[in-house]
Symmetry: C2
Subunit: 461 residues, 2 copies
C-alpha cells in the first residue's frame, strides 16, 4: 500500500471486526467483578499497539487494583519532528438488558447502518478509530512525519483517579507538541463540530439544620423554621426571575461573549435546539434571556442544584419535621473565573441571606477545575478542521461545550496545544441503553485521524 | 378492702411487678418477627381482664396476621348506668441498645425513682394504670356505678389499620357514654394537663419535572429549569416572611382563638417554652408573630414540608440535572377546616404559581382527618379534672395538642363524649432511647382513673 487513506479503506472490514472484538470485552471500570476483563482489554490493546508497528507499548498498573493505563509510542519521525499525543479511554459504563436494551449490550449488533453496543460511541469508537489510523500510517509507504504517542485510560468512567497523578509524576511520558483528546460527539451525522471551549466546575454542599433532632411535625410544626423550607428559601434566592445567578460577584470575572464567539456559536444553534427538543424536551427552554442556547450552554456560567434531600421520602406519610436538609450544588465556570473565588462568593451570599432561625453549614468540594478555552486560530485547531473537512466533505462548526473534561486541563500541562476530536454523535446514547454509532462514523473517524497526522507533518521531512 | 383507693395503695408493689411483666414482652407491632410476642401479650391481657373480675374478655384477631385487639367488659352497674370506654394501646416502637439505651430496652430498670423500658410511657403505663384501677374497683366493697369497657389496640405504632374498620363494623362493641382515650403525656411531673383540642391533617405529594430524563448538568445546565430549583421556588411561595401560610383561602374557615382559649393556653406557655428549649432547641423560635407558642402549636393550622428528594444525594459529586424532584407536605388543621377544601386551596395555589417551564403533578393523600375540639365545660372533662386534682393535688391546665389522634375521631362516633387522659411525661422519651416514667406517675395514674370512674358514677345507684 502506498498511502494510509487507501490502506484504511482496503482494510475497513477487518478494522470493523477488531472494533467489535474490543466491544465484546466488558471493560466496566466501576464494577470490581470486571477487573479481569479490564486487564484483559489492556493486554489486548498493548498487543495491538505492538502489532501495528508502534515501537513501545506498556500496560501501566494503577494502585489498589484500579484499571490500568495503556501507553504506546512511535518515535520514527525523529527527535526534531513534532509529537502528537492521542488520548482516549477504553473503559465503559455498566449496561444490562434490563436497562432497556433491545439487544445484548456487550454483543455488537449491526442494524440499518448502525452498530449497537455498550462503548460503541463512548469511547471504543475513538480508541479503535485512532489505533487503526496509526496502523494505516505505519503500514504505508511513507512514514508519518510526526511522532505519535497514544494513551488509553481505563478509569475515565469511574473517576479518573490516577491518570492526573501519573501525568504529574511522569510528565515526559506524555509530553507532546499537540494533544488530541478523542472523546465525545459531533453535532450531526453530516455536520462535524470542533469544541473550542469547556466549562470549569466548582462544587459545594449546603446543609441547613434547626431542631436538634427530628421532631413530630404535629407536635412542633408552626414553632420552628422547617429546615427543608429554609433550604428552599435559600435556593430560591440563588437565581432571579431571568434565570441569572443572584450571587454578588458571581459574574465579575466572566469573559464577555465576543463577536467571534457569537458568530461561531450562531451556526451551532439550530443543531443544539434540535438536540434540546429531543433529549431535554422540557415544557419550555429556560435561562438567561439575553443569550442564545449555545451561549447559555457553553459561554455562560451556571449554578445548578444536583441533589436535595431532607426528611422522609419513602412510601406513605411520616409526619416528621426533620432536623436538617441538604443540597448539592455545582457551578459551571467559564474562562477567567477562579473556582475558589466563585465558591467564596456563593458561600458569602448564602451566609448573608440565611435566616437566623436556622444553622447553615457549607462544605466546599476541593479543588474544582478552571474552564478551558482552546485557540480557535491555532495550528492544532486548523489541522483538526482540515481533518474533518477531508473525512466529512463539510467544514466543521465550532462549539463550546457545557461540560468539563479535566483531562484537557492536565494534557495542557504537558502539551503545547490541545484539540478535542470527537467522532460519536450526541444522539448516540452514551451511558444509556442502545448506545450506537453510525458505521460510517467509524470509517470517517479513521480517515480524519489519518488526515490530522498528515497535516501536522506537512512541510517536514 | 372497703374502697378502691386503699386497695390500689395496698397492692402497689404487686401492680408494679405486673406492669414490669408486661413491659418485658416485646410487643413491637412493626416487626413481623415479634408477632408471637404480640399474640402472647394479647392473651396475657385477656387473662388479666378475667382475673380482675371483668365479665367478658376477648382477643379479636385481625386480618393478615396483623396485631389483635383485646376487649374486656364489665356491665355490673346495670343497663341504666352509664358506660365508660377506656382505650389504650399495648404495642410499642422498636428499640435496641445500639440506639443509645443505657440499659436493656426490654428489661425494666429502676433508678432514681424512674423506670426505664421501651413502652414504659407509650403506652403500657396507661394499659396497666387503667387495668389496675378497674381491678381496684372490682375488688372493692362497693361496685362501680358505671359499666366499664376496655379496648386495647395492638397496632397503634404501625398504622392502626384495622381498629377503625372494627369500630365501624361493630359499633355496639365499643358503644359508650364517655370514651377515655388514655395515651400521651402531661406537661410536668407536678402539673397535670388536659388536652381539649387536637389538630387534623391533610397531606399531599408535590412532584415537579422538566426534562424527560436525568441530564448531564454540564451539557444542559443553563437551558432548562432545574426541577429541584423550581420545586424550591414553589415551596418558598407557600409561606410569607411572617411564617404565615400564603395559600389563598387557607385560613378561611379557621376558628378564631377565643378569649377562653387564650386564657387557658396562657397557663401552658411556660411549660411548652421550657420543653421547646429542651427538645427543639433551634437557633430561634419561628412562626406567626401574633400568636404565642401554645396557640401556634395547638390552635393554628400549619403547612409543613415533611420530606424532599431530588437528584443525586450520595457521597461525592454527580453532575446530574435531574428529571424531577418531589416533596411531601402535610397541613395540620384546626376546628372547622375541611381537609378536602384545604387540600384544594393548596393545589390551586401551587398550580397558579408553578412556572410554565416545568410540569407539576400534585397527588393528594386520602382521606385526611378533621381537627378535634373537646368540650372543656362538659361532664367528661369535669370528671377528668377532678380525677387529676385528686391524684396530683393540683388542678390540671388545659392545652391543645398540635398532633392528631385519629382514634378520638373514631371514638366520638360511638361515644357521647370523649376525654383524653395522659399519665406520661413529655420528657419521657416516647419512641426514643431510655424511654422512662417517674414511678409516682404510675401510682397517681391508677388513683386518677379510680377517681374518674368514681365521679362518673356520682349521684347514681
Amino acid at each position: 500500500m502506498s498511502n494510509p487513506y487507501a490502506y484504511a479503506k482496503a482494510n475497513q472490514n477487518r478494522f470493523l471486526e477488531e472494533y467489535q472484538d474490543l466491544l465484546r470485552i466488558r471493560t466496566i471500570s466501576t464494577q470490581p467483578q470486571h477487573a479481569a476483563d479490564v486487564a484483559r482489554a489492556a493486554e489486548w490493546l498493548k498487543a495491538m499497539m505492538l502489532r501495528i508497528g508502534m515501537k513501545r507499548a506498556e500496560v501501566i498498573l494503577m494502585p489498589e487494583g484500579r484499571c490500568p493505563l495503556v501507553l504506546g509510542e512511535w518515535d520514527g519521525a525523529g527527535p526534531d519532528a513534532p509529537t502528537v499525543l492521542i488520548y482516549c479511554h477504553y473503559d465503559v459504563q455498566p449496561a444490562e438488558v434490563a436497562d432497556g436494551w433491545d439487544s445484548e449490550p456487550f454483543e455488537p449488533t449491526i442494524k440499518d447502518g448502525r452498530l449497537y453496543c455498550r462503548g460503541a460511541v463512548d469511547s471504543k469508537l475513538h480508541v479503535m478509530a485512532n489505533l487503526k489510523a496509526v496502523e494505516s500510517w505505519l503500514a504505508a509507504a511513507d512514514a508519518p512525519k510526526v511522532n505519535i504517542k497514544v494513551v488509553l485510560e481505563g478509569e475515565e468512567e469511574s473517576g479518573s483517579e490516577n491518570i492526573n497523578a501519573f501525568i504529574a509524576a511522569h510528565p515526559e511520558r506524555l509530553a507532546a507538541d499537540i494533544a488530541m483528546i478523542s472523546d465525545g460527539a459531533i453535532l450531526a451525522p453530516d455536520q462535524p463540530s470542533l469544541t473550542y471551549g469547556l466549562r470549569g466546575i466548582a462544587a459545594l454542599e449546603l446543609h441547613v439544620s434547626a431542631p436538634i433532632s427530628d421532631l413530630h411535625s404535629g407536635h412542633w410544626g408552626g414553632s420552628v423554621h422547617n429546615p427543608i423550607q429554609a433550604l428552599c428559601e435559600i435556593i430560591e434566592q440563588l437565581h432571579d426571575e431571568n434565570g441569572t445567578v443572584s450571587v454578588p460577584g458571581f459574574y465579575d470575572d466572566v469573559a464577555a461573549v465576543t463577536a467571534q464567539d457569537r458568530a461561531l456559536l450562531e451556526q451551532v444553534a439550530p443543531y443544539l435546539q434540535a438536540e434540546w427538543d429531543d433529549v431535554v424536551a422540557a415544557p419550555a427552554v429556560w435561562g438567561e434571556a439575553e443569550y442564545n442556547l449555545p451561549e447559555r450552554l457553553g459561554a455562560r456560567p451556571t449554578l445548578e442544584i444536583n441533589g436535595i434531600q431532607g426528611g422522609y421520602t419513602g412510601a406513605g406519610m411520616k409526619t416528621v419535621l426533620p432536623a436538617g436538609a441538604f443540597a448539592k450544588i455545582t457551578c459551571r465556570l467559564v474562562p477567567r473565573q477562579d473556582p475558589a473565588r466563585v465558591l467564596q462568593c456563593v458561600m458569602d451570599h448564602i451566609h448573608n441571606i440565611a435566616p437566623e432561625t436556622v444553622t447553615v453549614d457549607i462544605r466546599p468540594s476541593e479543588p474544582g477545575a478552571e474552564a478551558v478555552l482552546l485557540d480557535v486560530e491555532g495550528r492544532a485547531m486548523a489541522a483538526a478542521a482540515q481533518a474533518y473537512t477531508h473525512a466529512w466533505g463539510v467544514e466543521p462548526v465550532y462549539e463550546r461545550s457545557g461540560g468539563s473534561v479535566p483531562i484537557c486541563v492536565e494534557c495542557a500541562k504537558v502539551a503545547g496545544a490541545v484539540v478535542i476530536m470527537s467522532y460519536g454523535l450526541k444522539s448516540g446514547r452514551a451511558h444509556g441503553p442502545n448506545e450506537n454509532i453510525y458505521l460510517q462514523n467509524f470509517a470517517k473517524g479513521i480517515q480524519a485521524t489519518i488526515k490530522f497526522i498528515d497535516v501536522l507533518g506537512e512541510g517536514r521531512g
